[in-house]
Assembly symmetry: D2
């Protein structure tokens, strides 16, 4: 894709239970030059946060995968977005996402599938990854997309590893993806502004 | 399948936002002769409820489909079940489920898929439906499994219809399914008791 | 969205077993002003078809839902697209889809989810629907999106109904969706051409 | 679960493209003491194979994950099972499955989800795994369920690794799971025979 400079509003909205998703969200926000919105431990965000989401060109969802799906706090946010849904406030927005968990697979695909559905319910456009899986014998755990996801990036940190020990490859993959999401949003926005 | 009389403990655990899922849960509980556990509006159940779930032979999950998935209150319950998960308390249990929403399709399959995943995370056994879809030109809205689901029963009530106007066919389908779930649980239980 | 006139290449690639998906594909192609590519009963398309797909700005997938997923002929096409996958030929393309079956639900969501995954594996961008479900008591079977899908349109025709009796509402919904998919493709294309 | 000796018929039906799924199928068949049915490169099995499936107490599905789902040959088999579906030949059977691919995640969950749907369409009972993911810092690639799947076992072999280099841990996980599937089938069968 071409480079574009048209300004876009990007928002990363995430819930983090123990800090891993927060760190991944920060990598994503850096890649996307996005505003970070943290869903709190009661599943809430404030009025300005909703306003920022309504005004965004691109929204990136983030959540750990707990018990095979997004955390309940993220789902509470998703359920609350029914207000924006009724008013078609998020229609035609660009959507992306990311998730992380302790197990290698851990049913993380189900969380990403849910993000796709949520974006679709809002009438959005989903941007997938463009980084092929690193799946050769010589592939390194920190290679881009070592986990081999397509819909959106995944992160994985052992159950007994603290935030500091998150894999740099997972974070860089997420950051690259975020830049891509925003690039697509920029193109659509620019085209609409002509 | 043969008739079996071996006693089994069945539990229906559900969240209902506006009463539709509650009514469906009651039909399910009747079919399964099951204990009903209602997840409250904060996503909580009490200590005795957890005990009942731990002691159950069969657990049937129920939730409306909101924004493409189970309600956050149900997901909070699911996340809280990680305690039972750590202790393998629900392993080898029989699982089933049901969901309802206002739209005909409404991504209800995603909620049922999640129930399957949740049961699988707990090391359980999932019982699907055995009622073929009623999909002929002469099929009636109240025919068994008119909605055409397979993993578990679905209900559908228009967005402006109160609980009283729920379709009797959906409720009967759910009730028949529940009896089937318990029948499988009874067989496994009986076999283990020999 | 604004009206745009920038020329785009759109392709609808579909498999039809008994003619229902073919008719739906024709409605989609009309909405998208797209080239129609029919996957034959052996799951094959010809060399020019692959060339057309490689050159397309937008690709719309179509298949009946058989036994809970796309037909094997569609899957054979999908497996053959691994050649384009290796060469990144479909990266950044706009993707959409549609499916039809005899049962009301019939696990059609799983077919649409697969189309999303297939587009994502190719590094594409998925366009969802922007038509709210018609889910009121007064809703008519021929209202736009009566079936209540979000990721992409669904069609449903009773098992004993011939192609001529397909619901006009399903076809119009699919056609409107197709126009939307192409509109997004047009915007991205135009932006890239500046 | 208790040990049971009641005789059961188990069948593993799989398609293998390059031999990896075949080797995994052999490990599964050993664990399940099952008959092996290989779907050929045209997606066909013979008449005796269909008879064996119709007579089975437990059926375990196996396929590589290609382009985000089961191979087209497996899907052709699934589509052909619509004959058994019409006649309710597979109702109440015990179902399980397994899949393998080159990428770590590689959307393998989608293939397993499809197996669940296929079993559900047939009115079956699905047996999930009971092996917790090995997800600690000290976990070894060959630990049971290192890949962290729940619905059924996954295998993963780098794209440039031959069949001989498949991970023994993946194979043992699949074998243990298969024994579990058959154990559940045995219990149900025994109970029905009383």
């Amino acid at each position: 894709m071409k480079e574009h400079n048209y300004p876009v509003n990007s928002v990363v909205v995430y819930h983090s239970g123990y800090g891993h998703t927060k760190r991944m969200a920060e990598a994503v926000a850096e890649g996307a030059r996005a505003t970070l919105i943290s869903i709190d431990q009661d599943g809430e965000i404030n009025k300005q946060d909703w306003e920022a989401l309504n005004n965004a060109d691109a929204i990136i969802f983030g959540s750990p995968t707990y018990m095979g799906g997004p955390s309940w706090q993220f789902k509470k946010f998703a359920d609350s977005s029914s207000k924006a849904w009724f008013e078609n406030r998020w229609q035609n927005k660009i959507f992306g996402g990311f998730t992380t968990s302790a197990s290698i697979n851990g049913d993380k695909l189900n969380t990403l599938n849910y993000f796709v559905l949520l974006g679709a319910q809002h009438g959005g456009i989903w941007v997938s990854m463009d980084i092929k899986p690193a799946n050769l014998k010589t592939s390194d755990r920190n290679d881009p997309n070592w986990l081999g996801s397509y819909i959106a990036p995944m992160g994985q940190t052992p159950a007994d590893a603290p935030v500091e020990e998150m894999l740099i490859g997972d974070l860089e993959t997420a950051s690259r993806y975020a830049a891509r999401v925003v690039s697509v949003a920029r193109q659509l926005r620019q085209s609409n502004s002509i």
